[in-house]
């Protein structure tokens, strides 16, 4: 029965409310306070006048820009790295050294290079999205059955056709996995990204930062809830796309 899936999160929320009412979780906002916070953010906004949906759209904009650029760069680079050993040997060390650096650490450089507008935030998000996509693309390409490549060759395919018509579709399941992970990580870096990308005064991460500065923890958690929900929705969308695109599986 699918209804049973909702029991555990509801039970957790119930327990949380109970503990807060009993005063056990010092300072932690209760579910009721969080819902009140959501209402306040939606109607009044933080700062007053800067409402939740404005923050949400600004964040989505930054995110989509960073993600799109990551996708446009990571897939071709990943395909090339998976396909050509020379390319792989050349780029792989670079990728492996940069990858462990947390996007947050790039903040000062991001401000230097891109200022405090949308671009700097998108850059941080780009860093979050890029590496999972590249790595999964490489692994996807490398795992394409060699027989298929040979079959394509015997049918007259040259390198370019093989890359476009065999490697990419063959690697697509892995690429989409990379997308899912990349979206997850990129969306998580939003809070970091929006510590600097604040020129417009809008952004979910930015909003959380403000709430935190004034110790309005129920607004902080409300912001977290929104970020979590949107992230969840995006993941669902990708899953649905995956199902359609990979219907041959």
């Amino acid at each position: 029965m699918r209804k049973w899936r909702y029991i555990s999160p509801l039970a957790a929320i119930g327990l949380w409310q109970l503990l807060c009412s009993a005063g056990a979780l010092k300072g932690t906002p209760s579910p009721v306070q969080v819902v009140q916070g959501l209402y306040e953010l939606t109607v009044t906004g933080l700062p007053p006048g800067y409402r939740l949906f404005g923050h949400l759209f600004a964040s989505l904009e930054r995110f989509l820009l960073g993600f799109a650029i990551a996708l446009a760069l990571a897939v071709p680079i990943g395909v090339l790295m998976g396909w050509s050993t020379i390319f792989d040997n050349f780029l792989d060390p670079l990728v492996e050294v940069v990858r462990p650096v947390p996007p947050l650490a790039w903040l000062p450089l991001a401000v230097l290079w891109f200022g405090i507008g949308t671009l700097s935030g998108s850059f941080i998000i780009f860093l979050g999205c890029f590496f999972p996509i590249v790595l999964n693309t490489v692994s996807g390409v490398k795992s394409v059955d060699a027989n298929m490549v040979e079959a394509a060759r015997t049918l007259g395919a040259r390198d370019r056709t093989i890359l476009a018509r065999v490697m990419v579709p063959g690697a697509l399941p892995s690429i989409i996995t990379g997308l899912r992970i990349g979206v997850g990580i990129g969306w998580m870096t939003l809070v970091a990204a929006e510590m600097i990308s604040v020129q417009s005064g809008y952004g979910l991460g930015y909003m959380i930062m403000l709430a935190r500065d004034v110790a309005r923890y129920n607004l902080v958690v409300a912001g977290m809830v929104v970020i979590g929900l949107v992230g969840f929705l995006m993941d669902r969308i990708i899953k649905a796309v995956e199902k359609r695109v990979l219907k041959w599986r």
Partner: protein, 262 residues
Amino acid sequence: MEMSAAGGNGPVLELRSLGKSFREKKTGRALDVLERIDLEIAPGHLTCLVGPSGCGKTTLLRIMGGLEEPSSGEVLLESRPVEGPGPERGVVFQEYALFPWRTVLKNVTFGLRLKGFSLSDARARAEEYLAIVGLTGYEDLYPRELSGGMKQRVAIARTLAVEPKILLMDEPFASLDAQNRNGMQEFLVDLWQRTGATIVFVTHSVDEAVFLGQEVIGLSGRPARIVSRFENLLPYPRLRTETCFVELRARILEYLAVEMMG
């Protein structure tokens, strides 16, 4: 649906003094896999290559298909040296090697589009060949929805659609269970008779080779040499229980056994 006839009556495929050796990675030692193979394949013939597992018959087939290069000697297609794989030497793999993300139809049109066929022409030709292999009605299915035998038939259709001069088959029925395998062997004989294709068929099953081939060529263990050629003049369709069939099979088996010992 005739296959493109060879120019004149000369052999479709010639192997002259073909040799192949690999360099062992660990020791750097040269490993001879094939030794002075001389072979001529006449147009329209169904030739089987048999030999013990790992003897190099697959390597030989791959060289014929241009998927690997010989270390010595040459491969001539209609008297011209071959360079790399191409549609005029069709290859059918044991693992089918179908494109899983493409429908049956799109698998078959793959090579046709590469040849420059328009979308509609490719579709038409593909449907013809799917009819030849008996898969009309399955055009929009995906490979994962097909049985092993059906997948192999799609692979054959895919290869035939680009009208190769020779069809090279590398143990194509080895992945099938006995029942399906027999059925596919009958299917292949029928297909060959209808199309007049030139086929080289590699197998380690002598039974299969005797059932299929007009000529059975026996390869020794590594390094492989051609050690015997058996002409099979039995009429088609052949019965596995027939005395001549059984005798021929026994003869070949014995010969190969000797070769393996020696």
